[in-house]
């Protein structure tokens, strides 16, 4: 019999995919750089519109279902939030990229095409409920980013060009190895249970014997890589520094969100019977990740590299609530998503300003931000606000609420030790965020006014408005997150 497909559920993914094709076709038809930007933004916009429509509908839709009831593609609250987050972030990344593309004369069409492909992968991954779709979506997100990372910087063959290649190679090698490990894990899981549907897998695992935890751990390798948790983080600093700044932004938000979505789906849905083991494991991973990330970030001098280590540390904070998923699964996931959303807004804002400054200073050292308060007051104020948000201190209320949400989940879940480590890490984190913010207030003789290109201004402004909105009335965003996790498809 023909399997009925609920296209409405697929709408966001379809929008992104079709958008990608249209970009290529438009390029063939000789569309200008600005038109291509517009088209990509339009795609992201339509995707977002469909997400809001589905969200407005309230009911969760599912399609590609097996006769036995397990469905591969489910568009429920969790998925819609991830898809909304990814599409919004992609729109901002596009805005960030347009001045870089025009400035460095990069092939816009190919750039946007790859970007939209990656977005399609991320959107699908959010909705995937079986291992095959998960792996394929993971790959669809990763592969285009290798190519994006390889886009040469200012002068092809020049310093930036060499570095981009090296970054791409590292990203490629890391991704492929961890994907192989994940696949091997999935193979073992499949061997033990014979199931690929996540919920069916969970049911089967409940009956299975020993040996499964090893397979489970291998499976999460791929997602741990994407999220850049220790020890899968080595790639992050080098790739962020080597890649063009918008791509680094994309890596730090979109691919990280996709990674977290995959991790939550695999763990909270697929491997629920082993909750005790992987919770403790994630707790330890979270603690090491945040501490390692913060400590090394103390010594960084390069702006993007600092943001890379900061995003590694932030991954630690986002992972922390999952450490208590065995006792309070819905509270853990909700806290993780809350932090993820706020982190995305803050981080994109910070990357916006970093991109603007990198237009003037290619080496993008922290030193170059001295005196920014005079050369670009609004940009400096924005970056200062985002950095203090990342540190989790008022006046950056959004960051503070995110911090409180994580602390609340960890303490209510009973992991007191992790809460103490979190407290210590927020202190270490504050030092380098504040050091950077204070540096902008420094005096620098003869610093001409920094002209912030319009799309960059818009991107930073949107991020700022969202962050301030989150600070003042976070209910708006948190309301979106239906507390119930899609435990049963």
């Amino acid at each position: 019999m023909v399997q009925s497909i609920d296209y409405a559920a697929l709408a966001p993914a379809l929008a992104a995919a079709i958008g990608a094709l249209l970009v290529v076709l438009a390029d063939l038809a000789g569309a200008g750089r600005r038109a291509l930007d517009g088209l990509t933004l339009l795609t992201a916009g339509t995707g977002l519109a469909t997400v809001f429509l589905l969200a407005a509908e309230g009911a969760s839709r599912r399609t590609f279902c097996l006769s036995g009831g397990g469905c591969s593609y489910v568009a429920d609250g969790f998925t819609l939030l991830i898809q909304g987050l990814v599409l919004a972030a992609a729109a901002i990344v596009v805005l960030l990229s347009s001045p870089v593309l025009t400035g460095d004369r990069l092939p816009t069409a190919e750039y946007h095409f790859l970007l939209l492909c990656a977005v399609t992968g991320a959107v699908t991954l959010g909705a995937a409920r079986d291992l095959i779709t998960l792996v394929v979506a993971l790959e669809v997100v990763s592969l285009p980013v290798f190519a994006l990372t390889a886009f040469p910087g200012r002068r092809p063959g020049g310093a930036a060009g060499r570095v981009a290649g090296e970054a791409a190679l590292k990203l490629f090698l890391f991704s492929v190895v961890s994907t192989a490990v994940t696949l091997y894990g999935i193979a073992l899981l499949y061997g033990v249970t014979g199931e690929l549907q996540l919920d069916r897998l969970a049911a089967a695992l409940a009956r299975a014997g020993p040996g499964e935890p090893v397979a489970a751990v291998l499976t999460i390798a791929g997602f741990a890589f994407k999220v850049a948790a220790v020890p899968f983080h080595f790639w992050a600093p080098d790739v962020y520094q080597g890649a063009p700044v918008p791509v680094a932004a994309f890596l730090s938000v979109v691919s990280k969100s996709a990674g977290f979505a995959g991790l939550i789906l695999v763990l909270a849905v697929g491997l629920r019977p082993y909750a005790e083991t992987w919770s403790v494991l994630l707790g330890v991973l979270a603690a090491t990740t945040m501490t390692w990330g913060n400590l090394v970030a103390l010594r960084q001098r390069h702006a993007v590299r600092l943001l890379a280590w900061s995003s590694v540390a932030q991954s630690g904070y986002i992972l922390a609530p999952l450490a208590i998923a065995h006792r309070e699964p819905s509270l853990a996931v909700q806290a993780t998503l809350v932090y993820l959303v706020i982190y995305a807004a803050m981080n994109l804002g910070a990357f916006g300003v970093v991109t603007a400054v990198s237009r003037r200073y290619a080496r993008n050292e922290l030193e170059d931000y001295r005196g920014l308060a005079r050369s670009a007051p609004l940009a400096a104020a924005a970056l200062g606000f985002f950095l203090i948000c990342l540190a989790g201190l008022p006046p950056g209320l959004a960051g503070l609420f995110a911090k409180i949400a994580v602390f609340r989940a960890v303490v209510l879940g009973g992991a007191g030790w992790l809460a103490v480590i979190l407290a210590i890490n927020t202190v270490i984190g504050l030092y380098y965020y504040l050091a950077w913010a204070v540096r902008m207030l420094g005096v620098r003789a003869g610093e001409p006014r920094l002209a912030v290109p319009f799309p960059l201004g818009v991107a930073t402004a949107v991020a700022a408005v969202v962050t301030v909105g989150l600070s003042v009335a976070p209910a708006g965003v948190f309301g979106l997150v239906p507390l119930a996790l899609p435990l049963t498809p």
Binding site: Q334, V338, I388, L393, P394, P395, L397, L400, F401, K403, I404, A405, F407, R408, V411, L412, G414, G416, A419, V420, L422, A423, I424, T426, V427, L430, Y431, L434, V438, L441, P474, A475, F478, G479, V481
Partner: protein, 497 residues
Amino acid sequence: MSALVPILLAAPLAGLVAVLAAPARAAVRLGLATTLATLAAAVAIAAAFDYGRAGAVQLEVDALWVATIGLSLHLGVDGVSLPLVLLTALLSVLCLVALQQRLPAPGRPKALVALLLALVLGMLGTFVALDLLLFFVFFEVVLIPMYFVIAVWGGDGRRAAAYKFILYTLLGSGLLLVGLLMIYAGGGTLDMVQLARGHGAGMSRGFQIAAFLAVGIGLAVKAPMWPLHTWLPDAHTEAPTVGSVLLAGVLLKMGTYGFVRIALPMLPDGAVAVAPYLGALAVVGILYGALACLGQTDLKRLIAYSSVGHMGFVLLGIATLTPVGVNAALFGNIAHGLITGLLFFLAGAVKDRYGTADIPRLGGGMLAKAPQLGGLLVFAAVASMGLPGLAGFWGEMLALLGAFRPDPSLARTPFLIFMALGGIGTLLTAAYFLTLLRQVAQGAVAQEWRNVRIPALTLSEVAAWTPLVTATVAVGLWPRTLLAITDPAVRALLGGG
């Protein structure tokens, strides 16, 4: 009528926005207007406050703000927080008055006034917050503004001091958040009034001890309690006068207020278990602070260490877990706020006039060279030393009385030892203040200043300091004004005492 408390908080916020929008010239005047409005609101609250039921929380406002983490804008005032609100409003007005006359180093009035108003908002918010997380949010609102006040307008070692201040306090507030959330997990609600009434119901003794330790360390860093105090001397010495006054006058009280409002009523078993250690550290703080003062050569640093000593008495009062002790702590808070605020104003004035706060270089003879300044310095030192008839005496004496008869559930002998050591502490306090007066106020005028004209006190200085002097004398001569307000509230919080 119950909208007074939100108005109290809205005033500095509105002022903050107005100052940022207004031109730099008008900043200081606008700031003064805002603080005066805040003081008016505080006085209105004091007027509307029903002193008959000083124990009950009044003028309550409760509105949900962040649903997911359960944070609600729950504000209210009671006998414990009313005096602190008035003290904060008064000190902020005096700071702005002091700013009228001269701005510290790099000027930039707009930014300084905006930061001060943010500080005022944070401080007032902490005292009127009745929701655990709201208390935490306001507790952290003061960090960034105070950091910038020290880092930008401070003395020469300001950046290291500012970093140490904010990183140390942030670690403390991180632990505080863990403690608050443990209370929330155990007590089931974030509403401080309900939790206080519940007296740690539903929380095992071990849980209460852990929660008390977390909350206690967080608050002790702010108090500051002895081993966690090292940020205080640097922060106070490097902060500009206005910063030091607010830092010493109010920020230190947020820590001890937290103990009285949160730690003691909500975690009684935890309090009983930890109280002797808290008392011991408090007494060490008293003796340590006094001895450190004897060995100091910088005036502002000496006053900072004296704060460690005085807050030692406040913490000793809290450690006794009796209404007498807690009343002593609250009285000590207000008295220390007034007196040390005045001392820092004076230290600032001395530094402006003499160009240095180094005691050997000041050389003495200030009573001859600058009689008004010298006289006020003598007054403030004597008040801080605990001369009866001035505010400093009642806080310390009642703390010793509290230590003499601690809560029945506490072992008595350690507290008798603490009382004795506290007595020796008062002796040492008298010693270092009199040595200070002997080296600075009395004696012959040093050669360096013999033919230098030291300007007399300006109008704005006098205007800024007279309220502090009159308040110190009034509260000292008539302690009933404060004790009648705090006693019923303390009895309510400690569950009938």
